[in-house]
């Protein structure tokens, strides 16, 4: 029991950090770049993806023995599309402003390679428990990336975070940040930063391993 709990926790942390879908696997770039001109849009997109990923991972893992191998991709897509439709209508009914802002990118969650990738690579081969832990981690990692990028772009582009003004009236907006080039530049710099962290960690690990080896 304790072992499986640790394993589930590992799957979760893997998605949030070590194999972060955006910064490490570089998946789901389309929503990542398109809707992150403010933090709140990032949250909405992240939550929508969160729900879809959890729902479809659960269902795919549940049905994995019933889905014929030859038609699995289309089965996954149908399951994902069902949850996307639910999200689409719920957002339209409850938060029409945000639904309008995200526009076509809500239906496009169907085509988010992150979600299909998790079904194919993980949920269809693991238990429900593990699939849920994995989906939770991946969705949290995606949410984290969306909010981080959206937050940076909103702070520099409008001087606000979640709509709250941070710097007063005299703030000079960085116009480029709320335009598409700002998204590309910021995402590129964030990828650079995470790769740099990774490299640093590897070097540190190698050093630790070397000193431990010499002790033995």
């Amino acid at each position: 029991m304790a072992k499986s709990e640790k394993q589930a926790y590992d799957e979760f942390i893997k998605g949030v950090w070590r194999e972060n879908p955006v910064f490490v696997q570089v998946l789901g770039m389309c929503p990542m770049l398109a809707v992150t001109n403010s933090a709140i849009n990032g949250v909405a997109m992240g939550m929508a993806t969160f729900f879809v990923l959890m729902g479809s991972s659960f269902l795919v893992s549940l049905l994995k023995n019933l889905i014929p191998k030859q038609v699995r991709i289309s089965c996954f897509i149908i399951i994902i599309a069902t949850f996307v439709t639910v999200v689409d209508y719920v957002l339209l009914a409850t938060l029409p402003g945000i639904h309008k802002e995200l526009g076509a990118f809500i239906p496009l969650i169907v085509a988010n390679c992150l979600i299909l990738g998790r079904q194919e690579a993980f949920a269809s081969r693991n238990t429900i428990r593990m699939a849920l832990a994995d989906a939770l981690g991946m969705a949290a990692g995606f949410l984290f990336a969306l909010v981080a990028l959206g937050g940076i772009r909103e702070i520099l582009g409008e001087g606000k975070l979640f709509g709250i003004s941070l710097f007063g009236d005299n703030f000079e907006p960085w116009v480029i940040m709320i335009l598409p080039p700002g998204g590309f530049i910021t995402l590129g710099l964030m990828l650079l930063f995470f790769n740099w962290l990774e490299e640093k960690k590897k070097k540190l690990d190698a050093q630790v391993a070397a000193t431990e080896g010499s002790d033995l």
């Binding site: 001087g159 710097f167 005299n170 703030f171 000079e172 960085w174 116009v175 480029i176 940040m177 335009l179 080039p181 530049i185 650079l192």
Partner: protein, 336 residues
């Protein structure tokens, strides 16, 4: 082993050394830019000097920060960071807040140069990358031109706090290009030649820029084909337009002397890293820039197109190099 006074000096080739090293070329470009820089400071006052110092200091610091620890001597020693900072500073409006200059300079070195692998590896001219970023980020501050004024008055906008808008309290005035584009007003030939107009810090004085270019040509640091090709194409194109409707389109002399044309043609486009290698490629490159400048100035949304023209042709440079590659002697004939 090593003698202090060797009787016989044995060295591997090459035995014949040229004086043309990267630091030497960079120094020549500083000398060539010196008159323009001094004129810019003279016209726009101490504020301009502060702006230039800020740009250069930030460029050097960024280069220092991003270069490998044990190779900093080589990365900083060639003086290219100082030159990038200076060139960026010369393309900025004199009343730009200093913190924006810091951002632009850091982007110029960080995104324009270091990311590609340092000097010699960059695809785009670093100073222009910094300027393009600033123009897209702060479009209003980057197009607020102050009139040349008293040497000791400083626009208070340059001391705006970081992230805050600068309030320009000195006389602002449209640049000659803006006047031409939006009001169809010509600026006199003499003013453009001597530089007593509004505009970016180092672009106003045509005469001093040409002098600097001649110095570089005399020192063989510059390929004459690039400025000549750019100016000839731009002047020919604008002459054709001028003959069609002289009230609407600027004449060839105005085209050649206004805005960043000379600064760009002589000091930016000629960057050996970002321009093609073969004479044929260089002609294509220069003609492309000359054509694009006039196209953007006359038909585009911005009054000035030099920066975008150079950046666009920078992007085309690898392709030009590929198609103008000379045939290796003794090869390639039998394939035809």
């Amino acid at each position: 082993m090593t003698q202090k006074d060797p009787k016989l000096l044995i060295q591997p080739g090459p035995q014949l050394r040229q004086q043309m090293t990267t630091p030497a070329v960079m120094r020549d470009v500083w000398y060539a830019l010196a008159p323009t820089t001094l004129a810019g400071i003279w016209f726009f006052g101490i504020g301009a000097l502060l702006l230039l110092i800020t740009c250069i200091a930030t460029a050097v610091l960024t280069e220092w920060y991003f270069s490998p620890e044990d190779e900093r001597r080589y990365f900083l020693g060639d003086g290219s960071a100082i030159l990038t900072g200076l060139l960026l500073g010369l393309t900025l409006p004199p009343a730009l807040p200093l913190w924006m200059a810091v951002v632009g300079s850091a982007v110029a070195i960080g995104v324009g140069k270091t990311i590609w692998g340092g000097v010699g590896s960059n695809l785009f001219n670093p100073a222009l990358v910094g300027r393009a970023f600033l123009l897209a980020t702060f479009p209003i501050a980057m197009t607020t031109w102050t009139a040349p004024g008293d040497f000791f008055t400083m626009p208070s906008s340059i001391f705006a706090l970081p992230l805050m808008t600068g309030v320009v309290d000195t006389v602002t005035q449209a640049s000659p290009l803006g006047l031409m584009k939006f009001e169809y007003t010509d600026t006199g030939f003499v003013e453009l030649l001597f530089g007593n107009t509004s505009g970016s810090l180092g672009e106003t004085s045509g005469l001093l820029l040409i002098l600097g270019g001649l110095y570089l040509w005399w020192r063989r640091d510059l390929d004459w084909r690039i400025p000549v090709g750019i100016l000839a194409t731009a002047m020919a194109f604008s002459l054709a337009l001028y003959m069609m409707d002289s009230g609407r389109y600027p004449g060839p002399i105005f085209t050649a002397l206004s805005g960043g044309m000379l600064l760009g043609a002589i000091f930016m486009a000629t960057d050996p890293v970002t321009s093609p290698l073969t004479p044929k490629g260089i002609w294509i490159f220069a003609v492309g820039i000359g054509f694009l400048v006039v196209l953007i100035r006359v038909f585009g949304g911005f009054p000035e197109g030099m920066m975008y023209a150079i950046l666009l042709m920078n992007a085309a440079t690898p392709l030009i190099d590929r198609y103008t590659q000379p045939r290796v002697f003794g090869r390639g004939l039998d394939t035809k």
